[in-house]
Amino acid sequence: MPNSTNTTVRKDTRTQEMNKFMVIVNRLGIYVVVALLLIAGQCIRPDKFFTFSNINSVLQAVSLTGICAVGLAFIVYSANFNDMSLPMTIAFSGMVSVQLLQYNFVLSILGGIAAGLLMGAVNGFVIGKLRAHPIIWSMAFNFVMSGIVRWAWAGNQIYPDTITENAATAEQFYALARTYLGKSIGLQIPLMVVVMLVMFVIGHVILTYTSFGNQLKIIGSNYDVGRLSGINCARVVFIAYMINALCAAICGIFLASLSKVGAYYNGEGYDFECVTAVLLGGMTLAGGKGNMVGVFGGVLTVGLLTNVMNLLGIPTFNQYLVQGVVFLFIVWINTNSARKLGKS
């Protein structure tokens, strides 16, 4: 091979022109919006907005969405669009855990989580191994599960205090969503918020610093490249769905505890709400982009937007319009900045 030794390494002299504004948008992303909302809130109610109780209530309002969004981020990250079976995962795990209260408190929590994981396993197998269309399959599965849950409990709601004869167990279950930590240092942080923050930290570590997270990124960016580079794609996607189901199950148990009832309609609306938060956080449906810090920003945005609108006195139903427009606008900016930078 005569030529191979003589080739000189030519330096790449092409310059990459990057739109500075778009770089800022792409890096800082959603936190610009969070800062804007904080400033707006301060302007509207200078006396009330930056109090500990207000910020705490914002966090508490989004904590359940946040817990789900951590899990859903893994699905979106692996380019599987959205898990439309979230509502029934939440409802089913909540109902199982309420039903199992008749035996034991610990058993009920474990049972609820196991019920959620079961649904995650089915989703993970069909979508990860058999590669069904994620949205269509999860919608169909949601439909089936909603039928099964309604049929099994005959369309009724179940109440912890009628299920269990031991009143203390029911009280224990109710207290789950009403526990406040940090009383000794004068703060009252709800357990749900602490769980959400811990899960965000764990999710960030898993997504960024483990080989699983890297494999998920490759699969999300390009499935075929992932397969050809020797990743067991079915296993990785399966684990992503299991993580999602775990988060949804925890959310479901908290929701059942908070509303003191296990019902088939418990998780309604969570599928769209969570994907809104995840997409606001800079993840794209194309997969492989974004990070958990951004998702936390997205969750904060959802909470702060509702809070600011409530302070302004906009009625609940009219908030849909503002939420929709803000959602579309931010997603458009995200998409546009990614395209300007040549990342999409």
Binding site: L285, Q319, S344
Partner: protein, 340 residues
């Protein structure tokens, strides 16, 4: 032979569903009456329009999650223009359909020009439309205040046939769209865009213009369905069908059962309509036999899930066969057998 039968069964599964479910009416009481058949046909009204819109978008390789919201918008605006503004039914319906078409155009522009994924764009549009409807109707039900003239015309039973005028309108629209999709250049181009967007672009099809057109048409179609539904019911709610089975899910189920490919490029509007009919026959039969709402939801979901699962399994095994050359495989097997 066995696989051939299974294949043709799968190809005509919408028809199979209709026939099997209709035959199951034997177990019910008073199922085969003209009134009952008329009621079944009547109940397909809204879902057939939604199914047409949804199928068009899915054939082009997109998802339109805002179909239910569009239909709701059509219903609320038609009723509102008639009751609040005192318009007659015709202009009210046309204005409502124009409003939904505008929303559809915005959908299409977001998807084709701004390159937002159709799932997100229509999801956001759903919230926007919901907000608009609640602001317009103030969250309350809008009724037509006793003006039943047009509703009576729409609901009139054309006696020897189990048909009402609103079903006639629906059938005409479905057939027109089916012919449009099947026999015109416009329709074939939509299939081409769904099958392979890049090839379509290389073949000189202006895919962005088509995307906008499809979404606008889907919006108009859904709004017309919603308006007819609302007029026939004499009232419109801003949260139509949110309790029980959501219309979006029925439209999705019908589209999938009708054989539309989830990735686009294959499907037919007429089959979607047949699937809607099948689902409606099924829910009538089940409510006749069991009288329980839960069973209907379970059966709807199961049929949808089985269809999706079957297609997934078929695609999975077909994918495994790609690249395997049959003669070589047979030769290799013979070698193995002779070696033993």
């Amino acid at each position: 032979m066995k696989t051939k039968l299974l294949k043709s069964l799968n190809q005509y599964r919408a028809y199979v569903l209709v026939v099997v479910m209709f035959a199951c009416g034997v177990f019910g009481k008073n199922f085969y009456t003209a009134y009952n058949i008329k009621a079944i046909l009547d109940s397909t009204l809204l879902y057939a329009f939604l199914g047409v819109g949804f199928t068009l978008c899915m054939v082009a390789g997109h998802m339109d999650l805002s179909v239910a919201a569009m239909a709701n918008l059509g219903a609320v605006l038609t009723m509102g223009f008639h009751t609040f503004s005192g318009m007659s039914w015709g202009p009210a319906m046309i204005l409502a359909i124009l409003a939904a078409t505008l929303a559809g155009v915005i959908n299409g522009v977001m998807i084709s020009k701004a390159k937002i994924h159709s799932f997100i764009a229509t999801l956001g549009m759903q919230f926007v439309l919901k907000g608009v409807m609640y602001i317009y109707s103030k969250g309350a039900e809008i009724s037509d205040k006793g003006d039943f003239g047009f509703a009576d015309i729409l609901n009139k039973w054309l006696k020897p046939l189990p048909i009402t005028p609103k079903i006639l309108i629906m059938l005409v629209i479905v057939i027109v769209v089916a012919v449009l999709m099947r026999n015109t250049r416009f329709g074939r181009n939509i299939y081409m865009i769904g099958g392979n967007a890049e090839t379509a672009w290389l073949a000189g099809i202006k895919s962005s213009r088509y995307t906008i057109l499809i979404f606008a048409f889907s919006g108009a179609c859904c709004a017309l369905g919603g308006a007819l539904f609302a007029i026939a019911q004499s009232s419109a709610l801003p949260n139509m069908g949110e309790k029980g089975i959501s219309p979006l899910l029925v439209a999705l189920a019908a589209t999938i059962i009708g054989g539309t490919d989830t990735n686009g490029g294959r499907g037919s509007v007429w089959n979607t309509f047949v699937a809607v009919l099948g689902l409606m026959v099924m829910s009538f039969v089940l409510s006749n036999i069991f009288g329980k709402f839960e069973v209907q939801i379970l059966a709807n979901g199961l049929i949808l899930a089985i269809c999706v699962f079957y297609e997934t399994i078929t695609a999975y095994y077909n994918n495994k066969k790609i690249g395997i050359r049959q003669p070589l495989l047979e030769q290799r097997q013979k070698e193995l057998e002779s070696a033993q």
